[in-house]
Symmetry: C2
Subunit: 713 residues, 2 copies
Amino acid sequence: MKSRLILGLFCLVVFGSLQAQKLESPNGNLEMNFSLQEDGTPVYNLEFEGRAIIEKSKLGLELKEGQPLTSNFSIENTEKSTFNETWTPVWGEESEIRNQYNELVVHLDQEDSERKLVLRFRLFNDGLGFRYEFPKDSRLGHFVISDEKTEFAMTGDHTAFWIAGDYDTQEYDYTESKLSEIRGLMTEAVTANVSQKSFSPTGVQTSLMLKTEDGLYINLHEAALLDYPAMHLNLDDETMVFESWLTPDVNGDKAFMIAPGITPWRTIIVSDEAKDILSSRITYNLNEPSKIEDTSWIKPMKYMGVWWEMITGMSSWDYTDEFAAVKLGETDFEAAEPNSTHAATTENVKYYIDFASEHGFDGLLVEGWNVGWEDWFGNSKDYVFDFVTPYPDFDVDEIREYAKSKDVEMIMHHETSASVRNYERHLDTAYQFMKANNYNAVKTGYVGDILPRGENHYSQWIVNHYQYALEKAAEYEIMINAHEAVRPTGIARTWPNLIANESARGTEYQAFGGNKPNHVTVLPFTRLIGGPMDYTPGIFEMDISKLNPDNNSHVNSTLANQLALYITMYSPLQMAADLPKHYEQFMDAFQFIKDVAIDWEKSVYLEAEPGDYITIARKEKDGNNWFVGNVNGLTPRTSEIEFDFLEKGKTYIATVYADAEDAHYKDNPQAYEIKKYRVNSKSELSQKSAPGGGYAISIMEASKDEVKDLEKL
Amino acid sequence: MKSRLILGLFCLVVFGSLQAQKLESPNGNLEMNFSLQEDGTPVYNLEFEGRAIIEKSKLGLELKEGQPLTSNFSIENTEKSTFNETWTPVWGEESEIRNQYNELVVHLDQEDSERKLVLRFRLFNDGLGFRYEFPKDSRLGHFVISDEKTEFAMTGDHTAFWIAGDYDTQEYDYTESKLSEIRGLMTEAVTANVSQKSFSPTGVQTSLMLKTEDGLYINLHEAALLDYPAMHLNLDDETMVFESWLTPDVNGDKAFMIAPGITPWRTIIVSDEAKDILSSRITYNLNEPSKIEDTSWIKPMKYMGVWWEMITGMSSWDYTDEFAAVKLGETDFEAAEPNSTHAATTENVKYYIDFASEHGFDGLLVEGWNVGWEDWFGNSKDYVFDFVTPYPDFDVDEIREYAKSKDVEMIMHHETSASVRNYERHLDTAYQFMKANNYNAVKTGYVGDILPRGENHYSQWIVNHYQYALEKAAEYEIMINAHEAVRPTGIARTWPNLIANESARGTEYQAFGGNKPNHVTVLPFTRLIGGPMDYTPGIFEMDISKLNPDNNSHVNSTLANQLALYITMYSPLQMAADLPKHYEQFMDAFQFIKDVAIDWEKSVYLEAEPGDYITIARKEKDGNNWFVGNVNGLTPRTSEIEFDFLEKGKTYIATVYADAEDAHYKDNPQAYEIKKYRVNSKSELSQKSAPGGGYAISIMEASKDEVKDLEKL
């Protein structure tokens, strides 16, 4: 990952007790003003093209001991600089990322305490990032943050796309409502989860997507969450001011800090066009460049999994029904009676390997392969898995060799059951086992309440753990796809072996009662702001009772919508989650999943409106093909797109996988049609999408001969 | 460690609803009766030669969920068996240990719940052990013990030698009082400690030493504390009934259990002679045989340390005064200004190596060698040490080679600052570093409040950690001396690489204000019941202000008493804790420390009374020399001992290191005299010990020629 600094940085240091500072974005569209109130409280505001985005908002921190870092400040000096570079991500939505901002650093002195606090603001063309810094001479040493008092004062009763603030889960459907309606909708927004802890009737999670009445789009999140608790937002719904709400530890403390030190960045992405929120790279740009020098082992993967059959309840993770409780190392699985539902058998895995190999997939995930699933959940069990001992019917050696012979890479699964100490104890051995058996990527899971007991999924202590596992994985050249971990904050720039996270309500909930049909029109505006999601798309059979008669869940999506997700839900790790036999029923549609690229030279955000629709075109890396995806919300809609992103003068074959006329996510989800067209950069498409539907297009460069019989678009 | 089964075990299984069971000790001196009360509550009592030791006492457990396991039981069946073996410890007070008991196993069925509970009683000639067992068919699966309701009903208002019940420290002076006086004395018993949490005005710790008015001695403790919270005792001082009080976790839960499973053993040692309490091996016998197959690398050690100069405040652990807070990996120690007090310098270490080598010591401990001591304590710091990075003035390579050339083995120091996760993260690397640099033993420390925050030093979660570190050390062939860890419960039988613990108020407190002068007459009856203590004796300079003018602490012990501790405080790890220069002032007395053995063929407990005096004779393993130690309490006392433990017909030289006539722990602690005598098995000695004094005797086999000029005793 090289970075290219286009313009050097210059620096202005101004000493003196200045009371107001203005910072403009490089293109002048955004303006941030910083000042101190009379009582020495730091405040800032933000404007976009002269329109207020953030009203005057306070900054500060309360400490467990001593004078709070909220007021009594004077400005010691300020620094301004500008920065402009282009860097090359290991994987991503584009092959080069521009990182350009103007920076203001404010050095504050606190009266009486003689403590120092630094505020660093970076204003990009598409938004603002700022953080707190505690310099070496801050007189802080070790200190505990009891509350972060960062305000985001809204200019009105905006529309928000929100999920309930929670210390343990993000796996909620989004609610679209006015800010003033959050309180009334909170109870129904908090649906049941196996581990959850809400904290306030107006508490919501980031990234939070907002829309103002006059058509401005605002996104609030954080970047570079490292060894600090995850930030939520708590709304004062009289004043419409959000305040940061950090995830507490077991004693209610928020962050144990050491000076010199920093907080994560707080980010505000702004535009008058929704699609610009999707193209923003602020979150990555506020993270440090890669700390992994040789990244050649980090590779995007398209994969299948022995997984959906367990999620739907058709098969089981566990091997036997004999044990009420398992003691690893003592319980004898060899002597146990197998149940008839265990999915991770050598035979079944080989069946998946055959299918994955035949259709060109890179990898295969297998869950439920290792002993311990009989009592893995809900028992607050400490030693729940050892991550190296297979069930008797899963032959590690045979599978390793078979997968190798079929050119499919096995993907490891480490469910931790949120027993974090146990996982850390086994981490080296588990990673070594992976490398010895050709597993170079691992899906990790943190289902259930955290051990050590009393901690939360998003508290500092546990955020620290996810990072520990990630950095140790990098030592072993292992890629991580972490489920139920804290939502990403652009850390994959620094540690690009974090190839995906779950950290939101994924496709699995389509088998647990369903997701909202427009869920996937919101996720790119919220969850994906911090990094890719292992959403596990590609479900072709929407009637789950066909897999498991006891499960009446329905997948609220059309088949064409499922295809579009490979484009609209960017991830370097893309699953085809359904069973091989379901793909075999729709091989013409499955062709798109086989064709679609997973790493991109560039992305063009054609149209987008959160909750309603998203249409994106992407050009594959190291190739000339393009792929387009459209996902649609509840209202049938015709999308009008131009193909001017294509290279001028070239001819392509566009294969359009679209909802059939009568398609509907609920009643007729499998109704799709596939059409081929001749297209070039002047082509235009008018394409209808059904409720919960969408379309996917592959655009392959072609010779004139190849396209001569095709209809021109 | 081989074990020799002398008599086979036989087994009687009796089915039916039996309501009372009697169990006798092999010699018939002890009788235990078990029965169910009318409501199905299990009860037991214990008698010694017809005299009540434990009145009828209830047994049972309360669970977090479901019917408590306290009543509604019926007896499904009972089993009786007898056991007699002799086993060979790797190290110890004797080279062979007899393990003989009669066993009663009671299988209980609980009405309604249909749960099963098993009680296993083992009655030895010197006491009782019993535990709860949860069989596979107990219908318990995973369960949480919210309280253990084991009673020990006293027969009267006994005298107790107690320290305050506490979840985090055992480092208290003992109080001798009637049971009825505990409540009134509790406040003054709870002296300040850096991490402490008391729970009840009548809560005390085990092992608890008791004496009845009619001269019976009773000791209450536990054996084989594994993955379970440490047990305290809470006294109902109206009924004089002790009840078990388990150390809670952060949520107040006690033990997370899995069936099949067991609790630790609860032990009651009984005799009408105090010295028999010292010779009891019940605690070891109730532990499993060694799980380490090749124990050849486990070796008792006599050692010195770069330590006392820091404890007294004469030198420092930390290297520099520059940093208010250290970030390992970021803070630059190479560039820092050293303070002038850092003790662990290459030069100083070499000085100690020279002295240790010259005087035949096996090892040298060095504390403060690794970066992180500047802010190690009191900051709830997570990443406090990395256990592998030395300060700039400590040359690992040079010291390794120098120590090797001088035939001294370096002893590693791992202070964790109670940051347990951080220690576990570094454990493999730290152990590997040790082996690479010829360190085969480590002193660990857990000073301060536990991280993960909210846990306690003696809760199940952390007890599990000490065991984890111990077992992992065994994999690396590393011996452990754990300070501030939970007090031992005979686990060293199973894991003989646990060569010592602190887990009580050690010699260091002589530099922190002093210990009670009779402290060492109590410890063998309490703390040492579970295993050896790294008491760090051998202080010759009792006026600490001579080391550090700012420290007015006084060592409440005579010099002769310090010598006696090498015998009376059994440990396979014995330190000579004082500075070389203080030994150089008293080389004739120092000779005893050089001569004394540290591993024993047999031990003879000559006389003992808790709080007053202890006199023990021990014969070295693989040799014919004997060593005798006497420690005395507050009252001057003349000890009359016979040498009939010596081999008949042999002649020895006895060198007696005793208090001088005017010696006194306070005013005249360094007044000692050394006399040599000719002795044989018929010799008798009448020897006076001063307050806080004692004597030590080396008895070396000698030819008639060698003894001809010596006075006969």
